[in-house]
Amino acid sequence: MTETCGNLYVAKESTLATPSQRILSENITRLREFFNPTSIVVIGASREPSKPGNVILRNLKKSGLSLYAVNPYAKEIAGVKCYSSVFDVPGIIDMAVIVVPSKFVIQELKKCVARRIKNIIIISSGFSEAGEEGRKAEEEARDIIKESGTKLLGPNTLGMLLPSKKIDTFFVDEYTLPRPRPGDVAFISQSGSISLAFMDFAKAHNIGLSAFVGLGNKLDIDENQLLEYFGEDEETKCILLYLETFSDGRKFAELCKEICKKKPVIVLKAGRTARGVSAAMSHTGRLSKGSDRIVDCVLKRAGVIRAYTEEDVLDYTAALSWMPPMKKGGVAIVANGGGHCVISADLIESSEDIQLRLAEIGEIQKEKIKSLLDIPISATNPIDLTAMATDDNFKTTLSVLAKTETVEGVIVELATLQGVSERMVKIVQNFFKNCGKPIIVCVPGGDSARKLAKKFEAEKIPVYPSLKRGIYAANVLLKRGMWLDRIKNFRR
């Protein structure tokens, strides 16, 4: 059912839109232009190095695109020529990044539209998030772009980061916030602070991005447009969303249901109690009002993996973008310590939200493991190789598990001991390469654990600093696999 695509699994019988549907999606065509500008003007460029108008210009310079700046008082900023108005900038401009104070945004937006700039990002804040006056300004902006064919991102946004093109409109420099590498995860976010935290996470854990897009106040471009776009985007293999509100929840669910057949979608939906139900005269109405359970159920049916914290987002992204899904969820645990085994068994067997189970390992396989190892163990799952275990003991055990049919996936749990070394990375990698079963590593601990974990991450092997996080991440692989299976094979 699945085929390898780099280090990532996609459904073979993907339900990509039919050619006719593709022609129909004006949205995708327009966003493709939006994300592929060749010339950009920064309106509100600043000479002050700490100001957003300066940082953005410096960040964008790295793209090597035709770059212009608008500042009526400067001739040149950071080596970019300045013009006093956007009307003075020569030639075709694909994109404008507006970063002037909010009270000047409307006039600059008008100029951009008159100048026929089709793609606009308004970084400036001070709009609907700031009160009634800002809300009115947003209405005005909406009227200005209406029927002009303009695509607008923001206001009140970090803008976008396209690592492969080095297009970067963040008002934070790379020294303060290193950017993640180019990759295949698209991240759409309604919050700046969470986005920045995730960028840092992604950088630290070797998660590569195809794109980051900050939704801001969603004046024009919203999550549904972006979801449709990244659903079709070939560079993107996994989509993350941080949302506080749905622009159109029903459309969102419909889009997810289609996209999830091709690639995983992870959603962190915050603001759980802020949702209304029109009236609540009925019993059903009272039970539903503000109920987060509705969101839970709707997302689940659409195949979305729901995250509840920023940590979940990171954990699930690594698992889902680096490992294939599981259908039945029988896992084997291999550890070099009894405590790790016992805690994991408890978690798997007694957590209501964990559907994984410990795979039954047959007597023949058990005997095989025992006979191949030079240490006395019972080989019952979870398999405790004891503190004496070496890399080779793990290798031997994994080679048997690779061929054990009841084992659909493996969780390797390591205590940093003399016996295990960096060679474990290659061993785990080879296991995955050879049998294609998902494998997840847990290295609980502090600095020494983190040091080893980084080696796994470098090879795109999901690794977790706690047993619990590793087990929940593995469980997400099962959730996804079960959904795919249900959608495909459901019969009355």
Binding site: A279, M281, T284, G285, S288, C297, V298, K300
Partner: protein, 240 residues
């Protein structure tokens, strides 16, 4: 098609008399026209009709006040259960009407509904709500404390696919109750799936329906179906 028109008529007549909340009798008529099995319920406008209906349905019967102005029937002492004979039916009719008049002096009273009493079954609740973000959404839960105390419910957007409906039923915590405990047989899940799907379609077809409570729905043993025992349909506040 004819049934659709009849449903539209029922909704319109409530609208025309400025009522958002349909009576149990009207709600059940709509459900029945839409192919959802209900506990047999008929309207008796006077004592002799009540006796006739009771004889037709077979004893014992349940009788409830039928008035567009009395929606909390128990509160108005407008429900009598386990009526075993003609004389009990006569007595109940008079009592229900006089209780209703006491409860609300000038209430418009259509009569009394007479329902067949049905064998014991597991009780579930099926409902519909208009969610602010998702629009028409169908709810499923087990009756009694499961829903009252534990809020053990699940949802799906309308229309509800067959798979959605199966998932809704399976993902409530109280699911083992439907599976059967202490030697009990499995409840008729297929029949519940069917009702869930039909409620979803009803909301899609009749956009002016705002909320629905089917509470309780009796789920019999597998193969024996399920039937709606009490129902409320509430129209949206913003016109037809």
């Amino acid at each position: 098609m004819q049934n659709k028109e009849k449903i539209t008529q029922l909704i319109r007549s409530a609208r025309d008399s400025d009522r958002r909340e349909l009576t149990e009798y009207e709600s059940k008529q709509i459900l029945s026209l839409w192919g959802i099995p209900i506990v047999r319920t008929e309207l008796a406008r006077n004592v002799s009709e009540a006796v006739q209906v009771a004889r037709k349905l077979g004893y014992p019967v349940v009788m409830k006040i039928a008035s567009p102005e009395i929606l909390h029937k128990s509160e108005a002492k407008g429900v009598k259960v386990g009526l075993n004979s003609e004389s009990e039916v006569r007595q109940a009719f008079e009592q229900i009407i006089s209780n209703a008049t006491m409860y609300k002096k000038d209430a418009e009273i259509w009569g009394v509904t007479v329902q067949e009493r049905i064998p014991p079954a597991r009780e579930v609740i099926i409902g519909l709500v208009q969610d602010g973000a998702f629009g028409p959404t169908v709810m499923f839960g087990l009756g009694g404390i499961w829903v009252e105390v534990l809020k053990d419910v699940s949802f799906s957007l309308a229309p509800v696919s067959e798979l959605d409906a199966w998932e809704m039923i399976h993902e409530i915590r109280g699911y083992p109750v439907l599976e059967g405990m202490r030697g009990e047989k499995m409840a008729d899940l297929k029949a519940l799936v069917d009702i869930l799907q039909k409620i979803g379609l009803l909301a899609i077809e009749f956009k002016n329906i705002g909320e629905i409570d089917l509470n309780p729905v009796f789920a019999f043993e597998a193969g024996k179906g399920a039937r709606v025992a009490d129902a409320r349909i509430i129209l949206r506040s913003n016109g037809l």
